[in-house]
């Protein structure tokens, strides 16, 4: 059985995801037989640093853990501190926190959707998803002062209140997102290319998810209906109406579906919060002063799954131990099971199967500068692109068949 294996190193700096991580793919021919994961290239010792900071400073530190879902960690963190103290926060602060959490989910899922398209070589999805993500970031800037790292969470409440007229603008932006999200659901997901690349690929079984403790959309796409928002209600999640989205196949396609549908649920939650914030005006801060000795746990359903923070207090203004667990800590090991048995994707197939460069094609017009006359329109360029794909298919048809079968 001594067959030679090849190791394909991806990392330590991932060329596509642009993050420091190291995957070693053990392959036999085209097939991946084993995956080794090496971490630690970005270990910053944040748990240790938190022990030197006061409870008011910790949210700023943990906000820097993730640049995408930046409020997930402070959200769970302030809840851990409040759990130590055993305090409840004003209802208005709960609605504001919920709104921030869900708006963040919308922008994070749109970002992922774009990246997923980019990884598949389908850059139209990338450009479009990020185009629709932009107004969400602008809305964050309007409401919190920042497009990312909003600095909204503090033990006992939130740092900034929302004005009624800004909420009206928020509803406008949220309404404008429904149509594009439906478009992603209906058009992008019925696209044969996307289906060919994602259906029955990277399947993670329900049992694998339960054994490895997978979280968030990763688990929900495999039929594990876990969601901290329902399982351990916090903030205003028990006061708003929404559904948990689950699918059963556990492949990449289902993970796309879960995330796209979750954007719609998040829009629903945000709008309910906006409605409530017009009437619920009981302040935004519980004015937490002393943290008694004890321990507390805070959990939040981040876009990627459950974030859990644990704080231990000895009665001083700093935690003696601060533990942080991000959802990816549980989700990354599932790669080991999802990747094995599938092929290393081939660049030729990607080139042949996808009409190259949709995004440029549909937005370019060629002008003769001297006369100002349009020589080629987007339509002409699209026709050229289709022709090129046809030629490529013909040229590589013999090879493609072999690989496809």
């Amino acid at each position: 059985m001594a067959r030679s294996k090849t190791i394909i190193p991806i990392g330590p700096y991932h060329p596509l995801q642009e993050e420091p991580e190291f995957f070693k793919l053990h392959v036999e021919g085209e097939r991946v037989v084993e995956l080794e994961i090496e971490l630690g290239y970005n270990h910053r010792g944040i748990e240790k640093l938190a022990e030197d900071l006061s409870y008011d400073q910790v949210p700023f530190l943990v906000e820097r853990i993730c640049g995408i879902c930046s409020s997930s960690h402070p959200f769970a963190g302030v809840m851990a501190t409040e759990d130590v103290a055993g305090v409840d926060i004003p209802e208005r602060a709960k609605y504001i926190r919920t709104f921030i959490g869900e708006l963040e989910r919308i922008h994070s899922h749109l970002l992922w959707l774009g990246l997923a398209g980019h990884f598949l070589g389908y850059n139209t999805v990338w450009m479009w998803a990020w185009k629709y993500r932009e107004p969400v970031l602008d809305l964050f800037e309007l409401l919190t002062g920042n497009r990312n790292h909003y600095g909204m969470m503090k033990p006992g409440g939130v740092r900034r209140d929302f004005a009624d007229e800004d909420l009206a603008q928020a509803v406008k932006v949220l309404d404008s997102l429904v149509k594009p999200t439906m478009m992603f659901r209906d058009v992008a997901l019925s696209d044969p290319v996307l289906q060919a690349r994602t259906k029955h690929v990277g399947v993670l079984s329900k049992q694998d998810c339960i054994e490895l403790g997978a979280l968030g959309p990763t688990a929900r796409a495999s039929g594990v209906a876990i969601d901290v928002r329902k399982d351990h209600p916090y903030a205003a999640y028990d006061r708003v109406d929404f559904d948990i989205v689950t699918t059963t196949n556990g492949d990449i396609f289902d993970k796309v579906v879960v995330r796209v549908l979750e954007i719609l649920e998040s829009i629903k939650i945000c709008k309910q919060c906006c409605q409530k914030l017009l009437t619920v005006k009981d302040g935004i801060d519980a004015n937490l002063t002393d943290i008694p000795p004890g321990e507390g746990i805070g959990t939040h359903e981040a876009p990627r799954g459950e974030v859990i923070h644990y704080a231990r207090s000895d009665g001083t203004n700093r935690p003696v131990r601060y533990k942080i667990r991000a959802p990816s800590f549980m989700n990354v090991p599932t790669n080991k099971r999802a990747v094995v048995g599938y092929t290393v994707s081939d660049a030729t197939i990607t080139l042949a199967a996808i009409d190259p460069c949709y995004c440029c094609t549909e937005r370019t017009v060629v002008f003769d500068v001297s006369t100002g006359k349009a020589l080629m329109t987007g339509k002409d360029l699209l026709a050229l692109s289709h022709e090129k794909t046809r030629n490529l298919r013909e040229k590589y048809s013999s090879r493609m068949d072999k690989i496809w079968i």
């Binding site: 971490l39 630690g40 270990h43 010792g45 748990e47 240790k48 759990d83 055993g86 339960i210 054994e211 490895l212 403790g213 876990i226 399982d231 351990h232 209600p233 004890g294 321990e295 507390g296 746990i297 959990t299 459950e306 859990i308 644990y310 231990r312 003696v320 131990r321 533990k323 667990r325 800590f329 549980m330 090991p333």
Partner: protein, 154 residues
């Protein structure tokens, strides 16, 4: 519901359940005998149907503590199993074979706090560099950045 769960622990493990502290309806801390921990963890995961969320290791004055956080999602509740280990040579049986989700966090606690997990399938470094000096554990109270333990850089 709450009491049934605790009752179940006591009936099943008797003297191994050292102390039960119900901080709130959704947060229960259960101090257990370290020798019986793998059985109790397996009971949480397989019989109660808990989800292993994470474990927290702590270097305290009384000893090295580990809290195993199990989420009992259907009851909106966290069950936290607490063990206190010897300060000098903290050591406990690994639960990774019975609760696979715990494999990585045991590796993490091993390298950051110097806790030995007996019969763990893979005790290599997870987060720290491969050439990190032996016996230097950053999450211990007496560890200082910039010293000998700081990866040899001074």
């Amino acid at each position: 519901m709450a009491d049934e769960v605790i009752q179940g622990f006591r009936e099943r493990f008797g003297g191994a359940i050292l102390e039960v502290h119900e901080k709130s309806p959704s947060r229960t801390f259960i101090a257990v005998d370290p020798k019986r921990l793998p059985d109790i963890a397996e009971y949480c995961y397989k019989e109660l149907g808990c989800r292993f969320s994470i474990a927290t290791g702590m270097h305290m004055t009384s000893g090295v503590e580990i809290l195993y956080h199990f989420a009992l999602d259907r009851a909106h509740r966290f069950l936290n199993l607490r063990v206190v280990l010897d300060l000098e040579k903290p050591s406990i049986e690994s639960i990774a074979a019975r609760v696979p989700a715990a494999e990585w966090v045991e590796r993490e606690m091993h390298e950051l706090l110097g806790i030995e997990f007996k019969h763990h399938p893979d005790m290599r470094h997870l987060l720290l560099a491969d050439d990190w000096p032996d016996g230097s554990y950053p999450l211990r109270r007496d560890w200082k950045a910039g010293g000998d333990g700081d990866n040899g850089k001074k």
